[in-house]
């Protein structure tokens, strides 16, 4: 049928055209920009150089990079530690409210993280609800200065990103074949061995997927340090924002963005590797 061929051609054509213009080309331009020089009058000077990348190893940038990595890493770790048992309990629950419990995680997942960060600001400020609560309970005598610190940024990041860890973990744990655990127990494995040798390896792809969805945004959500961290806590996202809008150093900002993309590539490879390995494990069954 001739019409069908035209239809197929047009459909796939539209999709590829859109992605080529708004996804492939822009990223190519970022890479290109990172290789250019900052211009004096114009935004960039058309001269190829690796200067921006060398500048990345400049101490002040390197410090931000490491600080951002550390903060995002800690945030991811906290999300795994808090989120894993949480996802496990819900996924393995036989309660008839299971759907509702899951729905209660989906709501924060979709709620604007700006609004949720604002809620944290309102909680943590010196005369905020947390301080009054702690004061009235007699746990502290002086209001804590929680806001505008790395701790506040950490709380804000975990608050915003925890649902992004829980949902992939939930999806993964729910598919877990309980017979494998029973089999391991029958063969004499203790609880620790079951957890370390069966449950964790099988839910590894979920952990990686969740970590990806937490770690990458945690480095880039510039408005969270803006609201909760004052000027003290700078993420990679703030660095990029600053290079683009204030310092007007587009090549530098692009180079940072390329580094972030490389980091994403690394995590994607890890993810694909882990799902592949698990498929092999499933085939054994």
């Amino acid at each position: 049928m001739k019409h069908d061929k035209t239809f197929k051609f047009i459909t796939i054509g539209i999709i590829w055209l859109w992605l080529a213009i708004f996804a492939v080309a822009p990223n190519g331009l970022v890479f290109l920009t990172s290789l250019l020089q900052q211009g004096d009058n114009e935004l960039v000077r058309l001269q190829l150089t690796l200067n921006s990348y060398f500048d990345l190893f400049n101490t002040s940038y390197l410090k931000i990079f490491l600080h951002s990595l550390g903060l995002a890493g800690c945030c991811t770790l906290v999300c795994i530690i808090v989120g894993y048992p949480f996802a496990f309990i819900i996924a393995r629950s036989t309660s008839r409210y299971k759907g509702f419990l899951l729905f209660l995680v989906i709501i924060p997942f979709w709620t604007s993280s700006l609004i949720r960060s604002y809620a944290i600001v309102a909680m943590l400020k010196t005369k905020g609800i947390l301080n009054s609560l702690l004061l009235s309970l007699g746990l502290i005598d002086q209001p804590l200065h929680l806001l505008y610190s790395s701790t506040a940024v950490m709380i804000g990041l975990v608050y915003s990103l925890l649902p992004f860890m829980i949902l992939p973990l939930y999806a993964n744990i729910e598919k877990l074949d309980m017979r494998l655990i029973d089999a391991a127990r029958d063969l004499g494995a203790n609880k620790r061995t079951v957890l370390l040798k069966i449950i964790l390896p099988l839910t590894w792809p979920g952990i990686i997927a969740g970590s990806m969805l937490v770690f990458l945004p945690a480095m880039s959500m510039f408005y969270i340090p803006d609201l909760l961290g004052g000027a003290k806590s700078v993420l990679l996202g703030n660095l990029i924002q600053n290079q683009f809008l204030t310092a007007r150093n587009w090549p530098m900002g692009s180079a940072v963005s390329v580094m972030l993309t490389l980091l994403m590539g690394l995590m994607l490879m890890l993810y694909w590797h882990s799902t592949k390995r698990n498929k092999d494990a499933q085939d054994l069954l």
Binding site: F22, G237, T261, M264, M267
Partner: protein, 255 residues
Amino acid sequence: MNRLTRIAYLAVVYLFFYFPIGVLIVYSFNNASYSLLWHGFTLNWYKELLSDTDLQSVAWHSLSVGILAATIATMLGTLTAVSLYRYRFKGKKLLHGMIFVMIVSPDIVMAISLLILFSTLKAPLGFWTLLLSHVTFCMPFVAVTVYSRIAGLDKNIFEAAKDLGASDFTILLRVIIPLLWPAILAGWLLSFTLSLDDVIISFFVTGPDFDILPLKIFSMVKLGVKPEINALCSVMFALTLLIVLIAQLVLRKKQ
């Protein structure tokens, strides 16, 4: 873990999720500007929102971009899902991979890439650049939502339609869309919330003439905590809640 510890654990995490938002909503009804104490119930802050003409135009901007972006993204995303399911073509795996990568890639990377694109094309930042960007980041989410449903369809239906002489276009219109409307509607609703809530990408790709709600809230919040912002955030939260609820109900119905 026994049952009680499990329930306690869940309760603590849910409290962490909902306490700050709950406090925000409660204080949006408090009859005092800066006090933590309860000074009685009032709807003043909501009335103030309604009478703020500047805010109204900003809200209108957000809604129009949200509706248009969600609609275009839903069309593109549905076509993508259908093509991935029905057709064999070159680069199919690449397309699959790209959709996935677009979902996990950090917003800021997409934001500056689009900013550089628009600046290279010398496109003035405003409504159009914002709309195109929102369509681009919503589309993969629709594609994934619809694809997860389409994979459950019986392939024989398409064969039957084909045998009866339906063209691919007719099959899309008369078979696929009627069968998949819950997933398509859910994709639209989720795109709409994504567009309504986006801060990072919008921050870079819109101009001063076209302000939208999240950016307006961002600039207001930087100046401190105020009951008007509490009210505005509560309204936005309620809207998201409603949309997610509809999306979940629609998706569950056909399971």
